[in-house]
Symmetry: C2
Subunit: 134 residues, 2 copies
């Protein structure tokens, strides 16, 4: 049996938040956008439709939960929710708070500007995300 | 009660395929990428989490179905599945077949090159999508 292992690129670009039933949650280390990644903890996944039907429903629930948390915390103008994976093949879903006037608006954020959080800011943000109830 | 009406931009950039239980399906009129839009037929929707839980599950099923059809027909290297909506606010989900070496690879397709299908090509493609069983 193949074990789930996080793709090595996520170790350098993202920061762990917590584990939910299906996914591990990580914060994209880019202070320009509140941006959560949900990564199902199953080996060899690339597409959403490779998950079982019940796990697809679980993924939908967890994406929904992350969307509500980010909406409550940041009151964004819009949410971008997507599965791209052209560069990092391991299945991961982006949930991104977008604001009119953010550095990429109205374009998608992928491939746009990036700037890491300060250590203090990221610690506070992860604490807030974990404490937010929706 | 507000009735569902398709955002006017979709009338010029996309072509109707069919209606499923929740969504109307439309083909993006861009021959560079096999690209289906799923638009839930409910008024005033902007975010996925505004759908009821059962409609979120239905949306997941329909996105899954569209993903499988596009995979069977085109055997892409990857699927991009996303909700962006920064420019057209009406909730719509993109399901896009991506190929290593397509005109935008490995970047997202939004804002990239576009070229309409010929009338003959689009008629044939829509027929194929409607006939594909998964």
């Amino acid at each position: 049996m193949n074990m789930f292992r996080l793709h090595k690129n996520f170790l350098t670009t993202t920061i762990p938040i917590t584990n939910w039933k299906l996914c591990t949650l990580r914060l994209m280390n880019n202070c320009y956008f509140p941006w959560i990644l949900l990564i199902p903890r199953q080996a060899n996944l690339r597409q959403i439709h490779q998950l079982s039907e019940s796990n697809q429903i679980q993924l939908t629930k967890e994406v929904n939960q992350a969307s509500k948390i980010i909406t409550k915390l940041f009151k964004p103008d819009n949410l971008n929710v997507g599965k791209v994976g052209n560069i990092i093949p391991q299945l991961h879903i982006h949930v991104i708070a977008r604001f009119k006037g953010d550095v990429a608006w109205p374009h998608p954020v992928w491939g746009k500007q990036t700037k890491p959080y300060s250590k203090k800011a990221v610690t506070a943000l992860i604490k807030k995300i974990k404490q937010t109830t929706v």
